[in-house]
Symmetry: C2
């Protein structure tokens, strides 16, 4: 792949991002001065979510309390991207504290979906998805605690890849919930998202969740995926869930396409997984872990929005019995997914129950109902756009696989659909 | 192996157990009427800790609240033992609620160490260790949340095996802390303990922690272990810890023996593991999980001892922030063990810092400091007796291995020392 025209991208950002707000900080000088390493991402334009440290740039996590904070050093995943040749263009918009999925962030501004004016790009990695969809960057780094890479990828019509828990070390990333936080990538193609994840793999002794990948692991498939004989599960709790009709139609079309190319596609029961209850249990864990990590934010009205502080206060005050019950529930859900993936090779479902909606509308509570599953189970998941039958904003479907099965998921997206360029 | 003389064992129990109190319920009629299956344990005498369900027998967990409770069905692990030919002789003494390590249980009585009158057998599986040491049974089932199989095995001079987390389904076992609870076995030889664990493996869909063993897994080695070239780590935090001189001498003798037979034995740093802090964090998790599982016990003075109820009340009232910090600490410890086991094949350390002590003495706080590590990390561990240089009560050393490396641990114990019959 040829290196990207970095000055051209910077020009485009300067011209177009005023209307979008995907970037919170553009490092034009740094990008133009970069001497990209000879690696898999040589000369490609990369944007980084604003909760990941890039040396010399701000790292606010969208929290007023962290405004003005400048990272002294690259996070290990960013250093790994540079070793692979990435050119870092700057820091991308995100939902406040990575807790929420509209990227309408008090004091930092609204990020706009490049596919439709006035609409949310989703979140929390909303700027990451918008920057990819607007062709500002070839690759964006996001974080995903209950769906924060895949939901904005879905809303903006790009690919989102959240790899297996532990694969990508999270030092230098502002933590929200270490039990559920993952790094991930967004790009216009599954192959590019996979190259980004591969490039970010680096030892991270300071992250207790880091686990070395098994020998021979890769994210970019070595050969085209072979769907014949593959067992694809459609989770019954998702079949039973409410969603936009266009979303359901896109999901069924993707299932039909997999059948057509030889996979066996069957419902899987998963009675222990109630998407609403699981998302709520996950949210309590997030609130409790965030409260333990960021106690100073809770009682300082200048530190964050009332909503963010209330969420952490709820976690702080919920009590151990309530938290333990949530953890027990999450363990049941995890066991249910692992059992489902004994019977199936992958699970196929929509990424989110809805498409992008206008800013200012109350965010649907179920945005993360389908994505949270892969965080709870620590399993890899990829979301890919799928055209809407009504011709409107794109839909998106999601594949969840076994631990370290990234290359199968990426290969399936490649055969499932020609990778869609946004809009 | 020949079937055991079941009537002879029952006679011995009738004659000798009055002084020991290893059994809380002997099922002589059931044992004599048993028609053992043709399996790996055919006709062997087995005792079951009183927190594991055996159809028709009591299952009290040593809690006053559960006195009179009779199990309607066998726990899956007990059913699996019967399928392997085990003859169940009855239910064994344990520390109240499996939370503690002396087996001096209010309202149920003291279990006495068969090796020395008036001394504790350890706990919480004290009756399991005593029944094996007294030759009442060939195999005993115990449970181990921070060391409750291995500590009594150590105090009573027998072998204790706590397998990998998830290998043995725990349905039908009174839970204390699902995050840390494990089933395990006690026997006079490592081979017998391993046969017991192998026999207990059975699917358990109701236990969200159950994980199928990898293909080809076994606990009984297929061939003698080959220590040449094996890397054995001595954790520096244990080298730095306080312990009885005889315990340290036994540990060093076992290390020297491993060196003699070809292993390389080296200290491993593990700075993130502070055994005291890790045990305390584990204890808080236990208290919080037990409080969530058994809320009715906390405020009912007739349900359990003041000490037990106070522990659960502490867990209930500790608050989410304190619990989350404990969980973060445990994650750091887990990461430290996994890193140590990247550099080493096994870790070698004492089982407990002390030998059996007289009943009535205040229990040392550090009993589980060395054993809790394997529960926190979910890794297999085996404890084996080692003669004391002072000729007194036996010492014990413990090997901790990688997930599902049971057969390596068992094989090493076999070559490390002739299996010791209790003194």
């Amino acid at each position: 792949m040829n290196p990207t025209d970095i000055p051209g991208r910077l020009d485009r950002i300067a011209r177009e991002d005023g209307a979008l707000g995907a970037f919170w900080q553009v490092d034009a000088a740094g990008a133009l001065a970069a001497r990209p390493a000879q690696g898999a991402l040589r000369g490609l334009a990369v944007g980084i979510k604003d909760n990941v440290d890039v040396a010399g740039l701000q790292a606010t996590a969208g929290l007023a309390a962290f405004r003005g904070r400048v990272a002294a050093a690259d996070a290990p995943c960013v250093a790994a991207l540079r070793r692979a040749g990435a050119v870092i263009l700057g820091k991308l918009a995100m939902h406040e504290g990575a807790l929420g999925a509209t990227t309408d962030t008090p004091g930092f501004g609204r990020c706009i979906n490049p596919l439709r004016a006035g609409h949310t790009p989703g979140g929390s990695s909303g700027g990451s998805a918008a920057a990819v969809a607007a062709d500002f960057v070839d690759l964006a780094v996001g974080t995903d605690t209950m769906g924060s890479v895949r939901i904005p990828a879905a809303y903006c019509g790009v690919v989102g890849l959240k790899p297996t828990a532990g694969l990508l070390g999270r030092s230098g990333v502002v933590p929200l919930s270490p039990s559920l936080d993952h790094l991930g990538t967004l790009a216009r193609t599954a192959a590019m998202a996979a190259r980004g994840v591969e490039a970010m793999v680096a030892d991270d002794p300071a992250d207790s969740g880091f686990r070395p990948a098994p020998a021979g692991w890769c994210a970019v498939p070595n050969a085209p995926a072979e769907p014949a004989g593959l067992r694809v599960g459609l989770p019954q709790p998702v079949l039973d869930a409410a969603m936009e009709p266009a979303i359901r139609a896109a999901w069924m079309a993707a299932a039909a396409q997999l059948r057509r190319i030889g996979a066996s596609v069957v419902p899987v029961a998963m009675p222990a997984w109630n998407p609403t209850a699981a998302r709520r249990a996950g949210l309590l864990l997030i609130e409790a872990e965030a409260a333990a990590l960021h106690p100073a934010l809770i009682d300082d009205p200048r530190a964050a929005s009332p909503e963010f502080r209330a969420a952490l206060a709820f976690g702080r005050d919920a009590g151990t019995v309530r938290l333990v019950r949530a953890l027990f529930h999450l363990a049941e859900v995890r066991a249910a997914v692992l059992r489902a993936l004994d019977a199936c090779d992958v699970l196929l479902m929509p990424t989110a129950p809805q498409r992008a909606f206008p800013h200012g509308m109350l965010a649907p509570v179920d945005q993360a109902d389908f994505t949270a599953l892969a965080n709870i189970a620590g399993l890899p998941a990829i979301s890919t756009p799928w055209p809407a039958e009504d011709g409107g904003l794109p839909c998106s479907v999601q594949l969840v696989g076994r631990a370290f099965a990234e290359s199968l998921l990426v290969g399936l997206v490649q055969v499932l659909c020609t990778d869609h360029a946004p809009g």
